[in-house]
Each structure stands twice: as C-alpha cells, then as structure tokens.
Symmetry: C2
Subunit: 427 residues, 2 copies
C-alpha cells in the first residue's frame, strides 16, 4: 500500500492547490497587463541542453537517466535553456523584442535538508532582443507589480539591484584586480556576511600572495556589505552605472521607485549574468529571495547560436507562498458551489436535475446529493460543502412554480419563483 509522495515532492490537496492557483492567476494577470505571451516546453529534455552551458551546481543536481531509446535525458532544472532553444529555432520569424513568460515545474535533486523541496513551479518572464536598460526596467517593474498584485507593499518587499559591470570597473581601476581574479572576488562578495570563513578563503584563493590588495579589496567589499551610502552614491556616479541610473529613473517615472534599493552585494550566477542583476526580498530578509534575475546577453548565442540579448527573472511559488501565508495575503478558497439543490422526494429528482443543468449552463456552480436521503442529510452535505444557500424543490413547490431558497448561514428561507431561480436569481 502506498502512503506517501517521494521526499521533496508535494501533494496538492485542494486547499494547497487553491493557493497555487491564486499565485498562478496573479502571475498570468500581471504578465498579460505587460503584453507578455505564455509559452511552455517539455519537462524532459536532452541532457546536453544542460551539461554544456548551465552552472556546475545545476548539473550535479540533475534528475537524469537513459530513456528506452538510449537517449540521455534530464528533468528540466531551469527554463532558460528551453527558452533559448525555442527562440533560437524561430529567431528570424519572431518579432523583437520578444516578451514571453512561462510557469514550468522545475526539478533538482538536492541532498534533503529540512523541508527542502526537489520540485517547484517558477514564473519565468523574459524580454529577448533588446539590449537597452528600458528592457531591464520593464522586467523589474513586472516583478514589483506581481508583489503589488499579491497585496504586498514597499514596506513588505524590496527589490535589491546591482550591476556587476560597475563593480568590475571599480575593482580593476582602484584595486588592481586582474580579469582572471574577478570571478573569485565576486564569488567572495556573494557569501559576504553569511559565511565569513568561506569569504576569506575565496579572497585568498582569488588574490593569492598579495596581502595589500587583499586588505584593500576586503575593506571595499566591507563597505558594500554594510550598504555604506557614500560608497553606493560614488559608484552610482560612475560612467558604468548609466544603465542602472536609467533603470531607476524609469522605475521612478512608473511610481515604483519606493520598492528599489541599490545593493552591490547582489551577485548571482557568475557564469550566466552579464549586466544588471536583482533579487526581490521580504523587507526583513527573514526568507530566501522571492525572485532573482538580470541581464544575460550571451546565453542564447551559446545554446542556439543566435545573438540575442536577454533580460529576465525566475520567481518560485514556494517562498512567495510562505510570505503570503505569513502576511495573511493569500486569497480565501472561494465557495465551492453557489447553490446546493435538494429534492424532497423521489419524484422531485428529475426536476432538480433539470434545474441543476439549467443553472450550470448559466455558469452557476451547483451540487446536489447523489443518493436519496432525508432533507436533513442533504442540508448537512450542503453546509459541509460551504454552499451559501440550499434550493429545495418538493411537490408543493413544483405545483406553485416556486423553490424554497434557504440561506445556510442565517437559516432564513423564502419562496422564489422558479422562473427567477432558473436564471440564477435566488431572491
């Protein structure tokens, strides 16, 4: 006998699915308002779609196997390679900029940590074929508007934004960090604060036998980590900060500036992003990032051989769902039915079926008992289903061409003409 899902996989009972659908509906609605079109790809892909170009971490965590046709295949751990493949295959025909979104389920085999999932759903939104900062701002605005559409305000969440090009210039010019050392230094910044020993080791490995440069880089990164405002302002004045300044100007014009903080600690996947990067956090940073994204101008070239700049983000259902539950911002599950129909006797069943079908044809959600039962039992089921009202049909009512409509909260009931009830008018 089978009792459980695999560890790290979720069963969605109707309560949980109601929250998931609430999140999906919000995602789709914001994407629609921004003129994005939905696409999807296969959850199973050729393994080499990931082994060549994705980060090492992802490949180690793949669900991968050989299918019955001896192809090496993998459950998708992320959507972007599929997106790159699909866009690459029709790169000529698709009108740029491409505005696409998708809500794939993604899979990673992580060593099980407490409650860590091995699957999640992730909204992917991307603008493809536009290199300028207006596209970055558009994507960031969509992130913020999703939070707003969920009922979250600028006191609930913050979009933390950086541009690695600013840091790279600064580290080169002021701290004599060479190109070959750059990734090591940035990966040290990525762990700053959370894992000091790891940070230290990474800096040492990156900069080697140069205690002077290590000292100067450490001091600089320390200022960034504590969000030192003078340092942030100085960096924002640099020529390399022009795209980031433009983004802020545009987000201000949209009225969304309150949600945005420049935070140079945001580094993200080094093998992947090429410009502006951002993450959405709850204001207290008590949860993991709700969303992360940025500009990745070389990936489609690498996967599909077509030169198309991109900016986009991924937003999972898990952290967002936790935050919404924590803040009480998840929608109440709507009532399952608008009316529960009750047949008093056996000869009332056919008229009730007819009425049920007329109402359903009008879009009214209707249920009724599927076996003969006393009225009391039928009313109990109506209440258990959360129906707001019962519509009772008996021989007397049929003769008088009415139905008894009973409010299941107050218990009050009244007769309503059948011609009205048939139209879904219950009073």
């Amino acid at each position: 006998m089978q009792g459980q899902a695999l560890p790290g996989f979720r069963d969605f009972y109707p309560e949980e699915l109601a929250l998931r659908n609430h999140i999906f509906t919000t995602w789709r609605d914001v994407a629609r308002r921004y003129g994005f079109q939905e696409y999807d790809g296969p959850p199973l892909e050729p393994l080499e779609l990931y082994t060549d170009k994705s980060g090492e971490e992802i490949v180690q965590q793949l669900y991968t196997f050989q299918d019955k046709g001896e192809r090496e295949v993998a459950l998708r751990p992320e959507m972007t390679p599929t997106l790159a493949r699909m866009v690459g295959a029709r790169a000529q025909a698709l009108k740029k900029p491409i505005r696409w979104f998708s809500i794939p389920q993604l899979f990673r085999y992580e060593r099980q940590q407490r409650g860590r999932l091995r699957e999640h759903f992730q909204l992917n939104m991307d603008v493809i074929g536009e290199a300028g900062p207006a596209a970055d701002a558009e994507i960031m605005a969509a992130v913020i508007d999703i939070a707003r559409a969920c009922g979250l305000t600028s006191t609930d969440v913050r979009l933390r934004v950086s541009d690695r090009r600013i840091l790279v210039n600064e580290l080169k010019d002021r701290h004599a960090v060479a190109d070959g050392e750059m990734l090591g230094v940035l990966s040290a910044l990525d762990k700053w604060g959370d894992e000091p020993a790891l940070t230290e080791r990474r800096l040492q490995r990156a900069l080697g036998d140069s205690p002077e440069r290590r000292g100067s880089v450490t001091a600089f990164l320390g200022l960034l980590a504590k969000e030192d405002s003078a340092t942030v302002e100085r960096l924002l004045g640099a020529p390399a900060a022009e795209p980031l300044r433009e983004c802020r100007t545009r987000l201000d014009a949209m009225g969304l500036g309150d949600f945005v903080t420049v935070d140079f600690r945001i580094v993200r996947g080094l093998a992947y992003y090429t410009g502006i990067v951002f993450e959405l956090f709850d204001a207290q940073r008590s949860l993991r990032a709700i969303c992360g994204g940025g500009r990745y101008d070389t990936l489609i070239q690498e996967i599909a051989g077509v030169d198309l700049p991109c900016v986009g983000f991924g937003m999972g259902d898990v952290v967002l769902g936790e935050l919404l539950k924590e803040r009480g911002k998840h929608a109440e599950a709507p009532s399952r039915v608008d009316a529960f129909l009750i047949a008093v006797g056996a000869e009332d069943v056919a008229p009730v079926l007819k009425l049920a079908h007329e109402l359903r044809d009008r879009g009214v959600a209707v249920e009724y008992a599927l076996r003969d039962a006393p009225i009391r039992k039928q009313l109990e089921l109506a209440v258990a289903r959360g129906a707001p009202r019962a519509v009772i049909v008996g021989p007397d009512e049929r003769k008088a061409k009415v139905a008894v409509v009973r409010d299941l909260k107050s218990g009050r009931q009244r007769k309503v003409a059948l011609t009205q009830v048939r139209k879904g008018v219950f009073k």
Copy 2:
C-alpha cells in the same frame, strides 16, 4: 547547439499554448460549475505505485529510473494511482462524495509511431465514495458539458456507454461462458471490427475446443458490433441493466440524452473497470476517443487499503485539440495588448511610463517600445503586436492634457482627454 525537443515531446509556442489554455480554461470552468475541486500530485512517483496495480501495458511504457537516493521512480503515466494514494491518506477526514479534478501532464514511452506523443495533458474528474448510478450520470454529464462548452453539439460528438455487468450476465446465461473465459471473450469484443484476425485468435484462445460455443459467441458479438437495435434493447431490459437505465433517465432529465448512445462494444481496461464504461467520440469516429472512463470500485482498496467506490474519466488535450481545430471551434488568440503607447520625443518617455503604469494598474494590457525610435517604427511594432490602438503622447498633447488615440485598423485618430485615457477610456 540545441535545436529540438525530444521525439514525442511538444514545444508550446504562444499560438499552441493559447489553444492549450483555451482547453484548460474550459475544463476548469465546467468542473467549477459541477462543484469539483482541483488537486495535483507529483509528476514523479515511486515506481511501485504503478507496478503493482496498473495494467501491464502501462508498466512496459513507463519512464522509469533510479534517483540519486537509489529509489526506483517513474514519471506518472496516469493520475488515478496518485489520486488513490492521496484520498487513501485522508480517507477519514474527506467528506464524501469527494468531487475532485486535476489536469496532470502524463508520460508514456511508446515506440514512436507517426506523430504519436510521449506526453499529454489529461483532465481527470472523479466522484469518490458513491456507488450509485447517480454518480455515473453526473460524471457523464460533465463529459458532455465539456464538449458543449467547447462549442460541440450532439451532431459533432457521441458518448458511447456500456456496462460490462450486462454482457457478463448474458455471456454466462445464454452462451455458457465460464468466469475464467470472460476476460478473453471481452478482449476479443474490444478489437472487433478493427482487427478481425486478432479477434478470432482471442476467441479461440478464450473458448478453446468448442466450435459450437465459439459460433454462438461470435454471432452474439457480431450483433453487438453492428449495434443491432433489437439486441441492444433486449439487453437494456435485463435486471443487470438497471444502473445503465437509471443513468439514461438522469441524463434525459438534464436534457443531455441526445448525446448518448448505448454501445456494448465499449470495453476499456479489463483489469480496472468494474461497471459502467464510456467513451466520447467524434460522430464520424474519424479520430481516436476524446475521452474514456467508467466505474472502478476496487482500485482505491488495492492501492490504499480503503474501500471507496469511484467513477471518473480522463480526457486528453490532443484529440480534443485536433477536433476543435478541425471544426474551427478553437478560440482565436486574443489580442496581446489593449493599447500600444507611443512617446513622440525623449521628454515624453517619462509621462508615457507613468501612463502605462496607471493603465496596467487598472488591468489594461499595455506595451510600448523599449528603445527610442521614430513614431513610424513605433507604430509598426504596435501593428505587429496586434494592438487595436496606439496612444500617442507628444509635447503638444501634454500641454493640452490630451493624447492622440489612433485606431490601428481604420487609421482614424482623435484627441482624447488624458483624464479619460488614464481610466482606460480611449474615446
């Protein structure tokens, strides 16, 4: 470089996803009207969920492998075992009858035939915990109403219904078929007409050295196969046909009788169904079945150890999608945006961003160019996006507190007060 999805897997470009979403939306809407709640489970499940109780054919076609934790796992080939597991785990707490639906993606490795897919999406609707024929009728009504909600009529599709119990009684009583021979005889009926040689072999294997019984059974099955009305009516008069008669009465009361044909050739999975079975076909039977289902009263007992009778069906997205395209009943992809905003000069960009955001906040779908371009270029993009109108903002318009609204079909344009445009009123 990666060009293609795995054979048998689909990329859903926006046009294809629009049809898929149209089908999903219709499924969800009918399920809602019938008071069904949505659930979902993992696409990856323990292998033994399928090996024990599913049909042999399914197990041979599983996508199965060992995960990094050395568990034997499989991509789900059908939803019912997951449903049985989930219902079994909460059998006490769930109020019966349970009315649940789900839209899982399912996976089968079939030897590639022309265009045969290895994945599809399938609506599953089930009533659990009610053994009477009212539940069967309710499920069949939902099938018919999905067809109707797709714009199909009783001249487009037919629900073909049988009840194996009627046949079993008849074969026992009139043709001396023993219990041990029954499955063989029914499986012969299943291939009747399509594969005469296979039918013949199956009958021979089932009934062995008894040319007399083979003759009588063959004659009987032949009458069923040609839908001989006297035979059908006689069988419908038998005591064992009471549930099927009751279903027809109820479907007639709902006004859906026109869609229903009794067809004793409908056999379906022998290891699975225990009573009424049905399939929905296009009226010409030029396509495979759109949907199949029936009563399966023992499966939850076998999988989860809880005695709960069930009736339900599965309806895939592929055959239904083909039929809708063939009949021109698929929804046109809706316009991507309601308005395309155009900034005349650089100083109009900020006001356009503000207006775009105000409109999106009201639920209006808005797009605009993401780089500076001449008005002509911006209008071209607006047309390419299928926007019904462009809203043009320049210095003169801003001074006069208006915008120029241009109808992109007729080319006519007029000035509209900004206070109106901001509210999404474009005339």
